[in-house]
Symmetry: C2
Subunit: 337 residues, 2 copies
DNA sequence: CGGCGCTATGTTACCGATAACATAACAGCC
DNA sequence: GGCTGTTATGTTATCGGTAACATAGCGCCG
């Protein structure tokens, strides 16, 4: 932290000060054991005195390893992916990589732009929360030879790899839980458009189990605008208007479920006696000291960590045993069902 | 999307195919109006045919503009900063920049590491959620000549710029709200360690108003481990044990407030009749169709957007009118007070 | 008609690192 | 004592772009 005449200190300046060549400085940073201890210390001292920070972009250009992983996330708001991004960033950091983030707001056009922008950084890997892409996006990614990990679902034919769980099975599991609790006239509340994809899969699994049970009916609704809680409230209102005898609702997210809870309360209904309400995600507010909401817990942070590790492994030459990693989910029964 | 013999297409290859020199391709990308339309189209065609994606790292190395902005965030989980990061990323994207993200988990040692790692990318700007830093971190940043924006608080002496609001004033405003609602024996529930800093400021403002009112008492407690909701629940329990006549609690976050609500309910207390509960943040679950929680709304997305714009402006040579931007806050009175 | 100012394009020299190969010094071995 | 292998360090070329300075062609003006 010293001389720096305005700009950045370069490796050459460090080398000069330490009385060695650039490459020796490079070795001290990347493979210290190839340098004699005495030299190493001299170089380290020069680095400290000058406050040298190596330029990773230059290094990456030469070594063809950017040490950057890109994450293309629909949105961080709404609790869903935040913990996954935390997990991802954490694991990457531990391995000397950095995380580049882009949001798509559930638009595949924006996903295409984000992917193109990220490819410009020649990332060592790419993580996508969406599992449906524009054709050209998919082709570009396949041609890029960069490890791509799709998360939060297990696509039949992943671009590269996939880490997540089966949304369909999760919906089915919740159906079984509600059946076991004696419910028979059940509705699903989702959101239209956008996040649709995964929600749709949850619904499919849910509906299938109910139909096959032969004893229960399924109803479904989705609200398209407003906050998630507002949609949940309107969703429950719509369900009860059309099917007043509904005795359970499964919401595609905990936030929707909270909206439904507030609507139920507003109507003077008792949960779970009059109606059972279940959510999805096990967000913090759903927990024991929060709403006490029955929900499906998904391994958010683990998904991020496993996705990161997968990328690191592939780049280290270790071909993983499977292209798809199923981290499962868990139905958490609490007070609302 | 075509020939690509395994690696990446370079600008030179595009140039050759279009029958021009590299620099002309570069101009088509960066300043298209300096190139004759006919040439421009030929180059664009070549770019499309070859599926060329310019290497931003190489470009940045040469132009000394990385088009990267770094954000050092304590954590994404917990709703607090997610919307800010969304806003930040959005504004950056619109201006051709990308967002590099690092988490610190509220540790200033990890902040120091993250800052060092980011500086290695020569970012065009840096955004920090923390406003307390290790001395060396601060010095490094000051020496770097990179625009630094501290957010979610208005430090007296910012490193570079600051965008946020006064946590102290926010605490004070909530105190006035509760006083006006007739409450007199109030407690503050915060979290120890970590996030402490901003929570402490909220408490200071809260306590000051109450003391100066001459009619109200203040109590404070903080829980140090467990989930936020669990801390809120334990916080309320601790408060009521020690000061059973407490008639209002102000929690340092909505999540804590939810924990307190659940504890109140568990004890058979009616909110707000027996006890008023207020939170901070106006997370989605606190809203009208959620908990209906009285809280303080802060402009999360705006903070991100304004911080991004500030960095873009400074890099464009526009010195902003002030180093500090106060975006304010708003007390939202709902059903719990 | 020579010179000026445009417009359109090209040439050269980097930016700051690393890979790959080269070299020097020295120890160990037959 | 010469050969080989190992350790420690250096030299050169290159990664893929962009800045800065050329250059060429052309219209226009006095």
């Amino acid at each position: 932290m010293a001389i720096e005449t305005g700009g950045w200190v370069t490796m050459g300046e460090v080398a000069e000060r330490a009385g060695v060549s650039k490459i020796t400085v490079s070795r001290v940073l990347r493979s210290p054991d190839k340098v004699k201890q005495e030299t190493r210390e001299r170089v380290r001292a020069a680095i400290a005195e000058l406050g040298y920070v190596p330029d990773e972009a230059a290094g990456g250009l030469s070594s063809r390893r950017s040490r950057i992983v890109g994450a293309v996330i629909s949105t961080l708001a709404g609790s869903t992916f935040a913990s996954t991004v935390d997990g991802l960033g954490d694991r990457l950091r531990q391995n000397g990589h950095q995380l580049l983030l882009a949001g798509t707001d559930y638009s595949s056009a924006r996903e295409a732009d984000a992917v193109a922008a990220m490819l410009g950084r020649r990332p060592d890997g790419l993580v996508l929360t969406s599992t449906t892409h524009r054709d050209d996006t998919r082709r570009t990614l396949e041609a890029s030879r960069i490890p791509v990990v799709e998360i939060w679902e297990l696509p039949v034919d992943p671009i590269g790899y996939a880490v997540g769980f089966s949304n369909r099975d999760a919906g089915a599991a919740m159906a079984r839980h509600l059946l076991a609790a004696g419910r028979r006239r059940m509705a699903f509340i989702g959101t239209a458009g956008e996040d649709d994809r995964r929600g749709r899969l949850r619904y499919d699994g849910f509906a299938e189990v109910l139909e096959q049970s032969g004893v229960a009916e399924v109803r479904a609704t989705a609200a398209a605008s407003g906050t998630q809680t507002a949609r949940g409230a309107r969703g429950l209102a719509a369900v009860l208007e059309r099917w007043p005898d509904t005795d359970a609702v499964f919401c595609s997210s905990d936030t929707l479920a909270l909206g439904a809870l507030s609507e139920a309360r507003r109507r003077g209904l008792t949960v779970p006696e009059d109606i059972a309400i279940a959510g999805f995600g096990d967000f913090e507010f759903a927990g024991e000291f929060g709403l006490g909401l029955t929900t499906v817990r998904v391994p958010g942070p683990d998904i991020g960590e496993v996705a990161a590790q997968l990328i690191l492994d592939v780049n280290a030459g270790l071909e993983p045993p499977s292209r798809t990693v199923d981290l499962g989910f868990q139905v958490i029964a609490r007070a609302t069902t």
